[in-house]
C-alpha cells in the first residue's frame, strides 16, 4: 500500500481517521452510490453520483460512452471517489458538539477503462454488489450494449477513511444541563418490491431480492 499522506491525511478531526484498509473496504462494500469529482478546463469541480462496486484492490464504476463524465474519467482525468454512509444523528447538549455518525471513504487517483472479458466481469461485479443474484437471472449484456458502456477501474492506492461513531462529546460544564443527549440511528431499508406494469402472471419476486433486506 502506497499513500500520499499530504493529500489524504485528515486535517481536521484526525482522531476520526482510520488507517485500517479493512475499514475502508467495509465502507465501500456497504455503499450503493459514490460521488465522483472531476474538474473542467476552468478549474470548476463537478460532483456526480455514480453506481460502483469494490473489486478487490479497485473501485469499479460504469456509465455510458456518451457520458461526458465517463469519457473524461476514461481519458485519465484525476478524480476523487467518495462513499459516505450516514448512520445516525448525534444530539449533544450543545448545538456546537452535535454531529452525525458516519463512515466516509475517499479514493483518489485516475481510472482506467476495462476491456474484453475484464469489462464483462466488471459489470458482473457491479451487478453483484448492487443487486446480488441478479446477474445470472437477468439478460446479460449484448455485444452492442457492451460497446455502449464504459467500465472504469480506479485502483485503491491513495485513500482515506473517516469514522465517526462515538457518543456526544459534551463539555464537562454542559453535562449538568437538563437536556436529553444521545444518538438517533439512521438506517437504509428496503420497501416491498413493486412489479412493473404488464409483468406476465406467474413470475414471482426472486428469492434473492427477499434476501437483500437481511444484508
Amino acid at each position: 500500500m502506497t499513500r500520499s499522506p499530504q493529500r489524504t491525511r485528515v486535517q481536521r478531526l484526525p482522531d476520526k481517521q482510520v488507517e485500517d484498509r479493512a475499514v475502508l473496504d467495509a465502507v465501500l462494500d456497504a455503499g450503493r452510490v459514490a460521488h465522483a469529482g472531476v474538474v473542467d478546463g476552468e478549474g470548476q469541480p463537478y460532483v456526480v453520483p455514480v453506481a460502483f462496486a469494490r473489486d478487490g484492490g479497485a473501485v469499479l464504476i460504469h456509465g455510458s460512452t456518451a457520458s461526458r463524465l465517463f469519457r473524461t474519467l476514461a481519458a485519465g482525468a484525476p478524480t476523487c471517489l467518495t462513499v459516505t454512509l450516514l448512520e445516525g444523528l448525534v444530539l449533544a447538549r450543545s448545538v456546537f458538539e452535535s454531529s452525525m455518525h458516519y463512515r466516509s471513504a475517499m479514493v483518489l487517483g485516475a481510472a482506467e477503462p476495462l476491456d474484453g472479458d475484464a469489462k464483462v466481469r466488471g459489470l458482473e461485479r457491479i451487478t453483484d454488489h448492487l443487486m446480488p443474484g441478479r446477474w445470472t437471472d437477468a439478460r446479460q449484456p449484448s455485444r452492442k450494449e457492451l460497446a455502449a458502456t464504459l467500465v472504469l477501474s480506479l485502483p485503491i492506492v491513495e485513500w482515506s477513511v473517516k469514522v465517526s461513531d462515538g457518543p456526544p462529546d459534551d463539555a464537562t460544564e454542559d453535562l449538568v444541563l437538563p437536556v436529553w443527549a444521545g444518538v438517533v440511528p439512521l438506517h437504509e431499508t428496503f420497501g416491498a418490491p413493486v412489479a412493473t406494469a404488464g409483468l406476465p402472471a406467474g413470475i414471482p419476486v426472486p428469492g434473492y431480492v427477499g434476501r437483500w433486506a437481511a444484508r
Copy 2:
C-alpha cells in the same frame, strides 16, 4: 434565475433533467448530507461530505475554522455541492437497463462566509433542517464557539436537478423474458433513540425526536 446552460445542462439522459426549481428545493430539503467538491493547486479534485441546509435561495454549510475544506471555500474557491437521494433499485429484465431511482441536485458557484447575526441564524437554520426542534432545546453556541465556526452561504444561481423515477425501460424484445421486473424501494428510517451513558434520570427523549420519523 440565471443559469449557465453549458455547465449545468445534463448531457446524458436529458429526459431526467428537470427545470423546475421546486424540484431542486425538494431534493435539498430532503437531504441530510451534501458532497462538496474542491480542487487543489494541482488540479486534483476532492469530494467531502458536509452537513447542509437550504435557506431560501442559498445552501448553507458549516464547519471548523481549522478545516482546510472550509477555509478554501470561505476564500471563494469554485465548488459544486451535490445532494443525492437514493430511492430504489430498478430491476429491468436486462442488466443493461437496470438502474436506480434517485433524485440528485447540483449547485455550482462560490460560497461566502456569513457573519454576525446572519451567522447565528445560519446555524439555527442548519440545526432546524437536520434536527428540527433542537435549536431551542440544546445550548446555543457561545461567542467562542461561533468564532471557531465558519458558516458559508452558496447562492442557488447555477444549478441542475435530475430525477429518475420511472419503471424499468426494457427493450420490446426483452418483455417476453421470464424474468421478474420492477422496483425495490429504498428508504432512510430512524431507529430508536439511544441515550448517552450517564444521562441523568428523568430526562425523556424529546417529543420532537419522536416526530422526525414521521417526516
